[in-house]
Symmetry: C2
Subunit: 218 residues, 2 copies
DNA sequence: CAGTATTGTGAACAATCGCTCAGCTCTCTG
DNA sequence: CAGAGAGCTGAGCGATTGTTCACAATACTG
């Protein structure tokens, strides 16, 4: 990257441990405040107050409000990206286990930020730099899943790319719903059904129908 | 409901057609402004400006900003709820058509409000009255789909309730994504894949597996 | 057409926002 | 312990927000 956005650079870099600690406290507070109030109502004063730091200190390490959000999102993204992709078994009959691992991974990824990521993306004016990072992250994730599907013997779908995009989004959204609001239905039941849906979808095309009597186009 | 929220009642009711028209213009403008700017940045002045009405007029018919959002959401909800549920054919082999009708219905329901509903629910502080209506709407929709699945001969799932909740949410979210952002993948392709996933899920349990060698509970 | 109720106007207010800056406290160095 | 620089404070600035209110414009009534 040739040049980072100037408006995301801090006034001064921390040189003592004390400062580094303050910076971290501010960031943690921002995560909580944004998650609780949303971005617009999550004011910088509230963030400073929660961090038990004066508003001036906040603006020593973050040039503006958007910079707080930018760093939070970038951290969240960098932490993800599915490190255990290689350790999954890709033997016949293991598809359900593989899918379940995908779902569990999504759960882990969502646990620390109940609303954050989603709210922020919808609400705030995010710098192009961060938007690109998010987009890149999504693409990488879809590509990973696509490769996984391609290597798995039980997967039979028309188009791997579309299938990967569909299930990544579906798993992510359902997981988000699962984590955000306590449901009437038990979590395990819902997870089982989600796993079933994806598994049946991916393996369902196996014995291909020889002819389609009436194509759905209309 | 014994008593509506006082803070959602207008100052005065319109008695001339002129006033009714103004009220409608304000509401339409609010829908567009909120959808474009989000709730926080969609200021009342912007709404009044777009409606070609002074800010004072706005506050004659809506006691505050939240009342605008409340009425928009309630209208959106009352308009929905799937009127064509009875006209679907429930003969063997028609499951894909039924699912596709579900998806198409979701598309229609989302067409007029590109972001509105989703953004609003996440962002704003919504009165309990409106939250209840939204909740009620979701429950009705899930119940309708559950009944539909129950009556369809090709549907074989463990739990109809969970399945209905899962597919309603999944279809709704994927449709929203489909409408909101122009994809790299063609819309038809994505729709076909979504229909396939749900169809295979619902019919996949048909020839029940006699025994499950390793239950997934962990 | 005069009189009255209804509707529409927009400058201005109080509250709150993101953010600054002059000056304080703390830590490091010798 | 004294000087210097790094870290921290918080009252307050300008801008913007949701909202009000005194008044003008318009529509109904007799």
């Amino acid at each position: 990257m040739p040049s980072a956005d100037r408006r995301l650079q801090p006034r001064r870099k921390p040189r003592q441990v004390r400062a580094e600690l303050t910076r971290e406290r501010i960031l943690t507070a921002a995560a909580h405040v944004f998650a609780e109030y949303g971005y617009a109502a999550g004011t910088t004063n509230r963030v400073a107050e929660r961090a038990r730091v004066s508003i001036g200190s906040l603006y020593q390490y973050f040039p503006n409000k958007d910079a707080l959000l930018a760093e939070l999102l970038l951290r969240h993204i960098d932490r993800g990206t599915w490190p255990q992709a290689d350790r999954l078994e890709l033997t016949p009959g293991s598809l359900e286990k593989t899918v379940r691992a995908l779902v569990r991974d999504a759960v882990d990824h969502h646990r620390d930020d109940p609303h954050l990521l989603r709210i922020m993306i919808e609400e705030a004016t995010i710098s192009q730099e961060v938007l690109d990072a998010i987009d890149r992250h999504g693409r990488v994730r879809v590509a990973q899943v696509r490769d996984l599907l391609a290597r798995h013997p039980d997967v039979h779908v028309r188009d791997l790319g579309t299938a990967a995009e569909l299930i990544v989004f579906t798993v992510e959204m359902n997981t988000h719903k699962l984590m955000a609001a306590p449901q009437t239905i038990p979590v395990e039941t819902f997870e089982n059904e989600l796993v079933d849906m994806v598994t049946r979808y991916l393996s369902g095309g196996g014995p291909q129908q020889p002819a389609d009597p009436s194509p759905p186009g209309g």
